[in-house]
Amino acid sequence: MTLDKIGIAKRIAQEVQDGTYINLGIGIPTLVANFIPDEINVVLQSENGLLGIGPFPEEEAVDADLINAGKQTVTTRAGSSLFSSAESFEMIRGGHVDLTILGAMEVSENGDIANWKIPGKMVKGMGGAMDLVASAENIIVAMQHCSRSGDSKLLKACTLPITGIRCVKKIVTDMAVLNVLPEGGFKLIERAPGVSVEEIKAATAGKLVIEGEIPEMTIA
């Protein structure tokens, strides 16, 4: 059984360390916040100018002046702070944000990521994605292993216009957890429950490195 989006988010939540500042992208990454255990203290950054994103507001507490980078209404947590977009990206570029979790359309075996543009389709823009991937020390990608048409999204080289080069360190898909090796290649770390190494091999177009027994993920 491959993981659903919730499963991917739950597995990524296990990577989150206590006392860190984290930027979550739109989609599956946003879901990760729901599965970070209470004893792990983290501060979520929103690149439009907020550190300390809180839960969605009660209906009567909705404030048009308080949104996240996905333009959703949010709240602030105790200890939060507000700032300009320039300062927000100073935090990102300056290496003060510990972890970035974002989605991708393709990742290459040397850690290149493509997630902003499909030629021939309407180009909406890169938003903050290029700044985030170029600056973050630690990037986890949340994605489906294959496209809807069954093509691998883990490639030797990206076919879509890239967002950043040699930046992805870890990938969590519906089938597996993989590390991107510094010398190139996807190192298989864990399998989704019930997914075989053979199935992962068949679904990975880029170089797959398999050493020893590959354990199954444990997802509560």
């Binding site: 949104i67 333009k71 320039a86 909406k124 890169m126 950043g164």
Partner: protein, 232 residues
């Protein structure tokens, strides 16, 4: 005290000519200069280059100025919420320059801060790097990006005083403070305009030196793009 107060949005934007380069504050529809946009539509200036993180939605924000064909070029980081925008882009009526969001913010800040260019890692190795100088510092590659300036900056704050000092609220701050710095003429609209002395100098986000005109706006709609509430 230099009194920057003008009566209303019409008076504030009276001398914005056709083909001007404008900066408009806001992230999505949060913190946008609603009153100045309405006044620009009423005045009917054409051929505008608009520097703004987003391009509004079809029937609000900069989207309204697209409906009236007043915009020649958009310089933005993300423009995904607007069908009329897409139509004009595909038909060639509208030029668009897409810039990584952090680079956009810093180029505007640099414009206001007198720094003609800077180096950033964002976009290195991508199509954003085409035609740009690349330099290596401490083993990492960076692109040279130049400052951005505007003939007029249109910003929105929560409170302001007649000397042009501004205080923002929540995430409505976003691009407004840097744009205030980077405009030859900066026009600030505020929800509440107060007398000098009423704002605590310790709490000012944008000092009045950057603001040439200020007025109290009215009828703020503050539309929400993604109203999201707690799941009961």
């Amino acid at each position: 005290m230099i009194n920057k107060e003008v009566k209303n949005a019409d008076e504030a934007i009276f001398d914005i000519p056709d083909n001007a380069t404008l900066m408009l504050g806001g992230f999505g529809l949060c913190g946008i200069p609603e009153n100045a946009i309405s006044a620009l539509i009423k005045k009917g200036v054409k051929g505008l280059t608009c520097i703004s993180n987003n391009a509004g939605v079809d029937d609000f924000g900069i989207g309204l100025m697209l409906q009236t064909r007043q915009v020649k070029k958009m310089i933005s980081s993300y423009v995904g919420e607007n069908a009329e925008f897409e139509r004009q882009l595909l038909s060639g009526e509208l030029e668009v320059d897409l810039i990584p969001q952090g680079t956009l913010a810093e180029r505007i800040r640099a414009g206001g801060a007198g720094i003609p260019a800077f180096f950033t890692p964002a976009g290195y190795g991508t199509e954003v790097a085409e035609g740009k100088e690349v330099r290596e510092f401490h083993g990492k590659h960076y692109l040279m990006e130049e400052w951005l300036k505007a003939d007029f900056s249109l910003v929105k704050a929560w409170k302001g005083d007649k000397a042009g000092n501004l205080v923002f609220k929540g995430t409505a701050r976003n691009f407004n403070p840097m744009m205030a710095m980077a405009g030859k003429v900066t026009i600030a609209e505020v929800e509440e305009l107060v007398e000098v002395g009423e704002l605590d100098p310790n709490q000012i986000h944008t000092p009045g030196i950057y603001v040439q005109r200020i007025f109290q706006g009215n009828n703020y709609e503050k539309r929400i793009e993604q109203r999201t509430t707690k799941i009961k």
